[in-house]
Structure formats: C-alpha cells, structure tokens
C-alpha cells in the first residue's frame, strides 16, 4: 500500500460475532494493528441486514442499509471477518436513496479479512510454528461469492487466500477432505426453517473433517463455525474450532 497518509480502516463485526464470538473480533483487530494498520471499531454499527434479506425481506432493510453506509462513510477501508456479510453488503443490500455515491464507494472499499490481507496489505506469507492438522472451512458465500478460493466445480487453477496465509506455518498439516467444499448447512434462517437438513449437512461436514483426523477446524465465517460447533458440542466431539484471525493472532507478535 502506498498512501500519503496512513489509511484509516474500520472494523465491521457481524452482530452474532459481537455477541457470541468476541475473540474472533479481537483477533481481527489485533492482527491488523500488529501489521501496522490504523483500525477503528465504529461503535454505532449494528447489522448489515443479511438475515432479513435472505429471508425474503430485502426491501425492508433500507433503514439498516442507510445506517450501515453512514456508519462507515468516513473510512478508507472496511474490513470484516465474515465473507457472507461482505457479500451481502456488496450484492444484496437495497439501493439507499440519497446515498448512492456513498453506497458505491462502500462497495469498492469493503473487504473480507483474508482478502484484505492478501490483496490490499499484500501479505505473501506468514512465518511461525503451528504444528496441527487443520481443516479449513470456507463459507460458501466467501468462496463462491467473493471468490476467496477456487471451487471444486470449476475447471480453474486452484488458489486459496486463506491457505496462502497459513501454508508456511511450520508443522501445519492442511488436510484434504473427501468433499473439498460442500456447504456446512448453516444458510441463515435455513438453519431453523429446514432444521433436519441443516443438521444433517453439518454432521456430514464434521464427519469429513473428523474422519480425516482434523484437530482444529478453521473457518472464515463464524456463522458456519457456530453451526458446526453447536453440533460437535451436542455430539460431544472434541474437535476444536477457530476463526483464521485467531490463529494468525496467536502467531503474530
């Protein structure tokens, strides 16, 4: 990055991360600070409106969207440790009347955490020791929506922004799964409206990791983690769950 003055980054933390997984948010903040960024968490922020829009009420999220745009208008970048929230802001938030210019600017400057690290901060590799068998679970919205990594369906050269950040860690074993990128079954309100399917998908996803001896399931989206962890806890499975920012925060000093 070459800016005349240091760019001011705003941290956007999904509502459920704020409430249930503050460590993932703290880790995101601290990683960016350790890399020399100026980061602020605007206290006024609430929600991006995704749960309502995915339930079919996008038109009713104009107020939420306006508030979101205003909260983040003054910053150079907005970084969020969730691919699905970033995708929603860019593609499924309704037009905010009167704020069209600001909305467009927001869409151009909002990034998911790993893509901000690799594409904007230009991090080529991270060094350190992390001797564990890890399974990475990219959220579908992050992977197929934001193209944070290649999809097994497409005939394309494999790539993964998260893997780039983790693969140089000493001792880390990146476990290949039977189904590389099948959905975990969270899907927002789907988790409740199609509960039987949601849980079966989650159980199957977990089984893929566990049967390949994954010790830590690392995710890019705490929504997927919340769902998988919920099942693992109920089934008394010992596999651990972390957001990728938490791993990087442990490594970086």
């Amino acid at each position: 990055m070459s800016h005349k003055s240091k760019p001011h980054i705003a941290l956007f933390i999904p509502c459920y991360v704020d409430q249930f997984y503050p460590n993932a948010a703290i880790a995101t903040l601290e990683v960016l600070e350790k890399l020399g960024c100026q980061v602020t968490y605007p206290m006024d922020q609430t929600c991006c409106g995704q749960p309502m829009a995915n339930a079919g009420f996008e038109r009713d999220t104009v107020g939420t969207t306006k508030h979101f745009i205003e909260t983040f208008a003054a910053y150079d970048y907005v970084v969020c440790p969730s691919g699905s929230c970033v995708l929603h802001v860019k593609e499924h938030s309704p037009t905010a009347p009167g704020l069209e210019k600001e909305q467009k600017a927001l869409h151009d400057k909002i990034f998911e955490f790993t893509e901000f690290m690799t594409d904007i901060l230009g991090i080529e590799k991270i060094e350190g020791s992390f001797p564990y068998r890890i399974g990475y679970h990219a959220s579908c919205h992050g992977q197929r929506g934001l193209r944070l990594s290649s999809s097994s369906e497409l005939n394309e050269k494999p790539f993964s922004k998260a893997k780039k950040l983790l693969e140089n860690l000493e001792g880390l074993e990146w476990v290949e799964l039977a189904r590389t990128d099948e959905c975990c079954g969270f899907g927002g309100t789907f988790a409740v409206s199609e509960e039987a399917l949601s849980v079966q998908m989650g159980k199957d996803r977990l089984e893929d990791h566990i049967s390949h001896q994954v010790e830590i399931l690392i995710g890019g989206d705490m929504s997927c983690i919340m769902h998988l962890q919920g099942i693992a806890l109920r089934q008394k499975q010992s596999i651990k769950f972390k957001h990728i920012a938490e791993i990087l925060n442990e490594i970086l000093k």
């Binding site: 997984y21 009420f57 399917l197 998908m201 919920g230």
Partner: protein, 452 residues
C-alpha cells in the same frame, strides 16, 4: 407437506438417505473428473450461455425459422399454448392413426403435461421405455430426477417389483439379469408399437432438425420401428445453428453423468419413407417466464440435472420432496413461475451455497434467482408472522441503542436461565445443536474497555 417436512421424513431413514447422498455425489464427482479433462471447459460454458442468451432474445424468429425448415423437410409442426392443448394434439394424432398402444422415451415435458394419465383415461396404453422410467411407471411414481428417474430406488426394491410384474426370479437382484428381463419385455412393446413419442434435446432453427440423446437407444428403437414419431419440445429448446450442437453435445453428457457423450445422438430431419414425424412446440408457461426479467435465464436450461447432483439439499431430501415435475435447484426457480403458492417453500430449500450455478453448463445464475424468488414470495404473501418479526428485526438493527439492549438481555438470558427453557422444542436451533458458549462480555464491551 412443505419441503422442510418432506425432507425431515426423507432423512428419518438415515441409511437410505446417506446412500442417496453418496450415490449422487459420486455422479457429481464423475462430472468434475470429466470436465477437468477439457482445458476449454469454462470457455465452452460461456459459449453455451451466450448462444442461449441470443436464443432468448430472438426466440420468435428462431421458432418461425425452425417451423419453415422442418415443414420443408416433411415434418408436421404443431403449436400448443399449454399442457391441455399438447395432450389433445397427441390424442388427435393417435386417433387419426387408430392407435391405442404407444411407447414413449424420456420426456420431462410430457411429465410436465401429465400426458400419461390423460392418454390412459382416453383408452391408450402408454409404455415408458427408458428403464428408470418404466420402473417408476410400474410403481405409479413420477421420476425423482430428470436424468436418473429411479435414483431413489435400491436394487432390492426393483428386484421385488420385477418379480411381481415381469416374473423374474424372487430375490435375484443382479442388475444385468434385471435389465435383460426389461429388455425382453420392452422389445415386445417396441415391435408392436405403431406410434412412438420422444422428447427433444435440441431443435435446430437453421435446418429444422431436432436431436434426441439417449444411452439406452430406447428413443430410436421406438421411433424407427413405429410408423409415426411424435416429438414434444419446449419452445426454449431451440438453438440457432447446427454447428452449435458441437458446443452443447460436448457439455451435456459430461455435465449430466460424467460421460464424454451419450451413446446415441439422433438427428431427425425428415421421416423415413412411408412414415410420419410430428413435432409439438409447447409453451405452457415458458412465454410467461420469458417475461420475468429476473428469471428469464432459467429458460436456458438444457435439462442435464447437474444442479441436482451437486445440491447438498437435493441429495439429502430426494426429488419427491420438491413436489414439482422438475425438482432440485432448477426446479425451484422454474416451478414458482408456474404456481407461486404451491411452490413457495422451494426457493427457501437452499443455503444459497452457489454450487448449482458453478456446475450449470449454460451458466444460469440459479442461486441468485433463488434469492430473488424469496423476495417475490414474501411480497405475494403480504404480512406474515415471519414478516413481522423480520420487520421488528429491522427496527432493532436500525438503532444502535435498541440493538445493544436486546443483545445484552439475550446474552444474560442464555447465561442465567435453566437449560430446559433454552432447549425446549420451540427452540428449533437447540433440537440437535448446542447454543454457542456464552462469553463474559461482547466485543463492543471489550472495545470500550481496551480501546477507549
């Protein structure tokens, strides 16, 4: 029952539903391996998508060109505005030919039009000759997958069925043995039939010919032994030029079953001497879908079924759970156009993972259209309890004060209330999942303390 209820039922037989999931994943995997052998695969998808975009923008011209050329070559062209008219046209041809027993190869369009029960009511015996279709016909079921009609059945069930209907040995589940029994049984029907009905994979405007693709050869067996061939074609199956078949035939079988081509790809241009070919061009809601800007691209579909094979929901709930002729992801964007009320749960039977869009050979933005149908459905439903609670949600999230207040209350409640209150059956999340462990403070509270 809505999709969630059907899915829950399907999952109750955990061994069978796992087998169904594994079987269809295996086919998805074959498709991947095959597509990776073609370096220009993604380019082919883009070409197919662009060709179909051109078709939809010029549909009337291409249909008229097709009719002109087909007629010139001696094919009788009929037009049907809806299913009723399609069925009436078929019956009238049969009556003219004095025919009361026909053979039919796979045509999802004729399923859509409910042709079989109509003909049977009018005294015509219909024999579906695709092996999978004959099996479900014996069982009185519709196909559960548009390419693999009997994918939901295990060989034990088929063995029992054939024992009853074809007199095969009880308990003999050998697929070769059972298939040979079907071969003998159906060969009699083929040899006797004077009229055969097929579907159409592609109609070529430039030449007035149409193409039918099968692995079994049943479409051809039927039509070449009969005197009259009736082909049913949805109006969106048109492609402009013969050379475009190169693109579509390279994509179709690879996407559908992971084969490099179907065994037989028959190009019908003129009838054999002394015989007749009729083609029925069917609308039945297609022009209405063409008029829906957000959903028009669903008409690009070439009915390969790849979206069903890749869909984690379809694999774990089965075709019948969708209660529409075309199930799965593509069915969920086509069917609401036909009956919004009946199919309102279908666009919600998805996590919007996007895998369907990535496997679609004509690059239909299926998962995007699922999202857009959700918006239409809630509008059509007007205010509902779910709607009210979502509006309320927007009220909370708009103002930071109310959001913080309710979040704190929620966290406090989770920490202090007895487990039974949280895990009661009304709390659907908690049926098979724990709630997340409750932290001492929210991130906002941590920031207030640590980054003032």
């Amino acid at each position: 029952m809505s999709h969630p209820q059907e899915a829950a039922e399907f999952l109750k037989d955990s061994a069978k539903s796992k087998w169904h999931d594994d079987t269809l994943w295996f086919i998805r995997d074959k498709r991947d391996k095959m597509s990776h052998t073609i370096p220009e695969w993604e380019e082919l998808r883009e070409l197919a998508s662009s060709i179909k975009d051109n078709v939809l923008g010029n549909l009337a011209d291409y249909l008229e060109e097709f009719e002109r050329n087909a007629s010139k070559n001696g094919i009788h062209v009929h037009w049907a505005k809806d299913a009723e008219e399609h069925n009436a046209i078929v019956l009238s041809i049969l009556k003219k030919k004095d025919c009361t027993a026909i053979v039919k190869s796979k045509s999802i369009l004729t399923e859509e039009c409910h042709l079989n029960p109509f003909l049977e009511k009018n005294g015509v015996e219909v024999v579906d000759t695709d092996l999978g279709e004959r099996i479900v016909q014996f069982l009185g079921q519709p196909p559960s997958h548009i390419v693999l009609p009997a994918i939901h059945l295990k060989k034990g069930e088929i063995s029992e069925l054939f024992h009853e209907r074809l007199g095969t040995e009880k308990g003999n589940e050998d697929p070769y043995y059972l298939t040979q029994a079907a071969r003998h049984h159906l060969r009699e029907k083929f040899l006797a039939a004077k009229v055969a009905i097929t579907g159409v994979n592609f109609g070529v405007a430039e030449t007035g010919e149409f193409v039918v693709c099968t692995n079994e050869g049943n479409a051809d067996m039927g039509v070449h032994l009969a005197d009259t061939h009736i082909a049913s074609m949805g109006i969106e199956k048109i492609i402009p030029k013969r050379t475009h078949l190169g693109v579509f035939l390279r994509l179709l079988a690879r996407s559908a079953t992971g084969q490099n081509i179907t065994n037989y790809n028959s190009h019908f241009r003129s009838p054999e001497s002394g015989k007749e070919i009729h083609i029925i061009l069917v609308d039945n809601g297609r022009t209405a879908q063409l008029g829906r800007e957000n959903f028009r691209d669903s008409l690009k579909c070439i009915r390969c079924g790849a979206c069903m094979n890749t869909c984690p929901i379809y694999r774990r709930s089965g075709g019948f759970s969708y209660k529409s002729t075309v199930p799965g992801p593509i069915g969920s964007i086509l069917s609401p156009g036909l009956d919004l009320q009946k199919h309102s749960s279908l666009p919600f039977a998805s996590t919007l993972c996007g895998s369907c869009t990535d496997v679609c050979p004509v690059k239909i933005n299926i998962h995007e259209q699922l999202y857009l149908w959700r918006q239409e459905i809630t509008k059509a439903q007007g205010t509902s309890i779910k709607g009210l609670s979502m509006k309320f949600g927007n009220g909370i999230f708009k103002s930071p004060l109310s959001y913080n207040y309710s979040g704190k209350i929620m966290r406090m409640a989770l920490k202090n209330l007895p487990k039974s209150l949280i895990y009661n059956p009304l709390n659907v999340w908690g049926k098979q999942r724990d709630l997340p462990p409750v932290p001492n403070e929210s991130f906002k509270e941590w920031v207030k303390k640590n980054r003032p």
